[in-house]
């Protein structure tokens, strides 16, 4: 039920049809002082799409973004914006930032302290030689959109972090750039403001319908704001997909760990036939896992990793419901967090963390049935060192 609802949600945000490719990055490589930061990244951003670059600190998200903006010079690869090659290592093309018709929101906001709020927002419009009354209209309009019209004549130094963030957004939307690049625009805000600004940002995105490339290390932000997510690790793309697809079917242990909460179980492969469920022996349990298109090969010892999200296993009192993937289990520990409840469950495969809700509470030590739907047991790649 919950699952279906969120799927519908995602569909609502998606553009009707995938637009034409607006930005195409291929084989991008970038180094700092000879040390590689991005190693062969390729992806496409479609027109009108909200795309996120998600990954832990230092994985090369900012570097990728800055290469697209023209603020770093890649060592290899090609970047095409709106059918124009703006960078190509092979052809020796490197169009400077100012001629790429992009816009960017910096992590530090980069609000010019020697200007007022109006002058900050008007700056890109003045560069484009708009008429004064046009500029006035447009600035007022975008400032109203972010709820900052009352501050229009304030010096920029008077603004708080959240206000600077809104002005930075207004400034980047003021002229219509081909795409907007955002580098962790919410990371300097405190937790409460961050959640509020996330919702604001979503509303503004819907209003302006500008193509967005959004860098973040916060998975909630990426899930909430994007049509598609690119997960990066160590300068390489790990997985690309719609938020829910990545959540439901992480391709690797890293993605399963990084996005949402998951149990990673190690099992001996007992049955493995193309197109049929893979059966793993974990402890004394036999876990049937849904087959995948490109199934990860077991390791040398014949073991495979399987990821089980903590929200998907079902706990049930009374009678055993199905025969597949159903075991007797006991609650070893219960941690009540308010909105959610975490259980540590003992089952024939060892221990499993399971998430529940306060409307259906189980007691510690209570014996019950544990059911893991086969389509929720996802075979994942082990993370090889890079």
């Amino acid at each position: 039920m919950k699952h279906e609802q969120s799927l519908a949600d995602v569909r609502g945000v998606m553009p009707q049809a995938p637009g034409r490719p607006l930005i195409r990055v291929s084989g991008l490589e970038a180094c700092y002082n000879g040390k590689p930061a991005v190693r062969g990244v390729s992806f496409v951003i479609y027109e009108g799409e909200q795309l996120s670059l998600l990954g832990p600190s230092g994985c090369g998200k900012t570097t990728t973004l800055r290469c697209i903006a023209g603020l770093e010079t890649p060592t290899a690869g090609e970047i095409v914006i709106d059918d124009h090659i703006v960078f190509s290592a092979r052809q020796g093309i490197d169009i400077p930032s100012e001629r790429r018709s992009l816009s960017m929101v910096f992590q530090s906001y980069a609000i010019w302290p020697h200007m007022t709020v109006f002058e900050n927002v008007a700056y890109p419009l003045r560069l484009r030689k708009e008429r004064a009354n046009q500029i006035k209209l447009r600035v007022t309009e975008v400032l109203r959109m972010v709820g900052m019209e009352a501050f229009i004549d304030q010096p920029a130094t008077n603004l708080s972090g959240g206000q600077q963030q809104r002005v930075a957004l207004a400034r980047s939307y003021a002229y219509l750039p081909k795409a907007l690049l955002l580098d962790e625009p919410l990371s300097n805000l405190d937790a409460r403001l961050r959640v509020r600004m996330r919702e604001e940002l979503k509303r503004i995105q819907r209003q302006f319908r500008v193509t967005n490339l959004y860098v973040t290390h916060d998975q909630e932000e990426a899930m909430a704001l994007s049509d598609r997510i690119i997960v990066m690790r160590d300068g390489v793309i790990e997985q690309v997909g719609k938020p829910l697809d990545i959540y439901d079917a992480p391709c690797s242990r890293f993605v399963a760990d990084f996005i949402g909460a998951a149990n990673i179980l190690n099992g001996q492969v007992a049955e493995r036939r193309p197109g049929e469920a893979v059966v793993l022996e974990i402890g004394s349990a036999r876990l049937a896992c849904a087959p995948r298109v490109d199934m990860p090969a077991p390791n040398a010892k014949g073991e495979s990793l399987v990821a089980v999200r903590t929200v998907y296993p079902e706990l049930r009192r009374g009678s055993k419901g199905t025969s597949v993937n159903c075991w007797p289990a006991t609650i070893k520990e219960r941690i009540l967090l308010g909105d959610i409840v975490n259980y540590v469950v003992e089952w024939p495969g060892g221990v499993l963390r399971v998430q529940g809700f306060p409307n259906m509470l189980y007691l510690e030590g209570e014996p019950l049935w544990l059911h893991i739907p086969a389509e929720r047991a996802i075979l994942v790649d082990a993370d090889e060192e890079r």
């Binding site: 903006a69 023209g70 603020l71 770093e72 400077p96 930032s97 100012e98 001629r99 790429r100 018709s101 992009l102 816009s103 960017m104 910096f106 992590q107 530090s108 980069a110 010019w112 302290p113 020697h114 700056y123 890109p124 560069l127 484009r128 010096p155 130094t157 400034r171 980047s172 002229y175 690049l181």
Partner: protein, 565 residues
């Protein structure tokens, strides 16, 4: 009860340490200035310390010497403008472009500052005096012409030498501001569609303006009070600025103290007006974050221009460091005042003379070392107490205390030393003519320098570190000893060495105070130059520079930042 206790603490009474420090500063800075004003208004007996008759006649007499003031302003305006422009260019090349050898260039460019203007003036007079200057001698030898190629005994010459020897200070100030500017401010402008020139004019320039103006002001005030350069390069052509005129009035017979005091007061008024104008111009425009992080912006690749930029920096280093020290080294090895470049006739005799044989210079070297140690210790201690009270106590009046501390910065040092001289002569016991008099003068005139250098350290030290120590059960003393002092000591040592260096090379603040009983290096070199003997002077200058270089090495090894202002 509770409420009243609360309201008194909310009003923050002036604390005892603040009060005591304000009183001390008012006494040691304000009282000499008061004497200066009194002397300027003295129209009675010119030799009396306290006026017998009051009036404005001295100022009216000054009207006949308006050229002194005009010359001062001319030299200071031209010199500070040229010096700041040069510093801006050097800072931009070194910090913002891909010029090779950044670290070593950064170091070399700052060295002319501790080497000092006296050395610069002497060296350039040996290099480019119209007759004996090496550059002109070589020019004559090669072309056979009898005209001189360069003449440093001129207004452009004075401006040039001032600018190249004061530029390092401006370089340090502008460079610090450049490194504290968030590079995303410029990057954002570029992404939004502004070309390089537009970004430079509309973003970079306005953001750098406060630092550039304050560097310019620093140079302007410093050049208004410059003494060594205009004396050595100007007096032979009877070109007088305020400081050299004051020196002449002091040396004349009979000395004309009241006129000198009036001139000094006018100079102070100019300096104070410049500070006031600057503060007004920058009201609410200072964007620098105190103790802010430093950024490493992506340097601009100037492609084909890079060799040219590198050459510009190298040319500066040659003109301000290599040539001056080279000519002095060569001159110090000569048998007489005629410089020969053939090493066969060179001798070390001059060093033996200044280090061993001649008691005056020997004593001056020892005294200067003593003074350096004394000023370093006293100045660091005083500045630490001031910085601590200003930034760490909670009482009212700390703003006034800080402003008072910075007052000596806008007082030309020669004039303040003259005022101190009168104060010391008025004392019931003998202070004038002792090393102690010079020590007091140095400590006061270098107080702003010491304070600025130490404030950074005190502010940087996180208060929570101390509180952690106190919570763990240590008393104030043990917190100071085991946490605060070890954390502060590299910064304190750097400030100490900085004070040591500037004291060893100082001449303006000691020329009146050092007497027969208290010879020190700066005035000794100056007097030596006055009485001829170029090879010996050069040897003495090289000895002084060697001491400074040792101090520089120490400063580099204790603090990664090197000289910090």
């Amino acid at each position: 009860m509770l409420r009243s206790a609360h309201s008194t603490s909310a009003r923050k009474p002036v604390s005892l340490p603040v009060l005591a420090l304000v009183a001390t500063l008012v006494l040691i800075i304000g009282y000499p200035l008061l004497l200066l004003v009194a002397m300027a208004l003295n129209v009675g007996d010119a030799q009396a310390l306290l006026p017998t008759h009051w009036g404005l006649a001295n100022f009216i007499r000054l009207l006949r010497h308006l050229d002194w003031i005009r010359n001062t302003l001319l030299v200071a305006l031209a010199g500070s403008t040229f010096g700041t422009a040069l510093a801006l260019l050097l800072a931009w090349i070194i910090y913002r472009t891909t010029v090779p050898g950044r670290a070593i260039l950064e170091l070399l460019v700052t060295i002319p500052y501790p080497v000092g203007p006296l050395v610069g003036a002497l060296a350039w007079s040996e290099l480019a005096s119209p007759r004996g200057g090496l550059i002109n001698v070589l020019f004559h030898a090669f072309t056979g012409s009898h005209a001189s190629l360069v003449n440093v005994y001129s207004v452009p010459g004075i401006v040039f030498v001032m600018a190249i020897f004061e530029a390092p200070v401006a370089f340090l100030m502008i460079g610090a501001a450049m490194r504290q500017m968030d590079p995303s401010l410029e990057e954002c402008s570029a992404v939004m569609g502004a070309g390089r020139l537009t970004t430079a004019l509309r973003i970079t320039a306005p953001l750098m303006l406060p630092a550039i103006l304050s560097a310019w002001l620093f140079l302007f005030i410093s050049m208004m009070g410059a003494f060594a350069i205009p004396t050595i390069l100007g007096t032979s052509s009877r070109f007088y600025v305020a400081t050299t005129a004051i020196y002449m009035l002091f040396q004349g017979y009979p000395p004309q103290y009241p006129l000198a005091a009036a001139l000094g007061l006018v100079l102070i008024v100019f300096a104070a007006s410049a500070v006031w104008l600057y503060t007004r111009a920058l009201r609410g425009r200072s964007y620098a974050v105190v103790g802010g992080r430093t950024y490493r912006p992506r340097p601009i690749d100037m492609k084909g221009l890079t060799p040219l930029l590198f050459a510009i920096v190298c040319a500066y280093i040659v003109v301000a460091l290599v040539l001056p020290l080279g000519i002095l080294l060569v001159a110090s090895l000569q048998r007489n005042s005629n410089i020969t470049l053939s090493a066969a006739s060179w001798t070390l005799h001059n060093y033996r003379y200044v280090l061993v044989d001649f008691p005056t210079t020997r004593q001056a070297i020892v005294n200067s070392l003593l003074l350096g140690v004394g000023t370093g210790t006293l100045g660091t201690a005083f500045a630490t107490i001031l910085a601590w009270v200003i930034h760490r106590s909670r009482g009212a009046g700390r703003g006034i205390l800080e402003q008072l501390t910075m007052v000596p910065q806008s007082l030309p040092r020669l004039i303040f030393a003259a005022a101190l001289l009168w104060m010391m002569l008025a004392l019931p016991f003998k202070l004038y003519g002792t090393l102690f008099a010079v020590l007091i003068a140095y400590t006061i005139v270098f107080l702003p320098l010491a304070y600025r250098s130490i404030t950074g350290v005190v502010v940087q030290l996180d208060r929570s570190l101390e509180e952690a120590g106190r919570v763990l059960g240590g008393g104030w003393l043990s917190v100071m000893r085991s946490i605060t002092v070890p954390l502060l000591s590299p910064g304190l040592l750097a400030a100490w060495v900085l004070l040591f260096m500037v004291s060893v090379r100082e001449v303006s603040a000691s020329i009146f105070l050092a007497g027969p009983g208290a010879q020190v290096l700066g005035p000794a070199i100056f007097n030596f130059w006055d009485s001829g003997g170029l090879p010996q002077v050069s040897a003495l200058v090289i000895v002084q520079t060697a001491i400074i270089f040792v101090a520089l090495v120490v400063i580099r090894s204790v603090s990664r930042k090197g000289i910090a202002l």
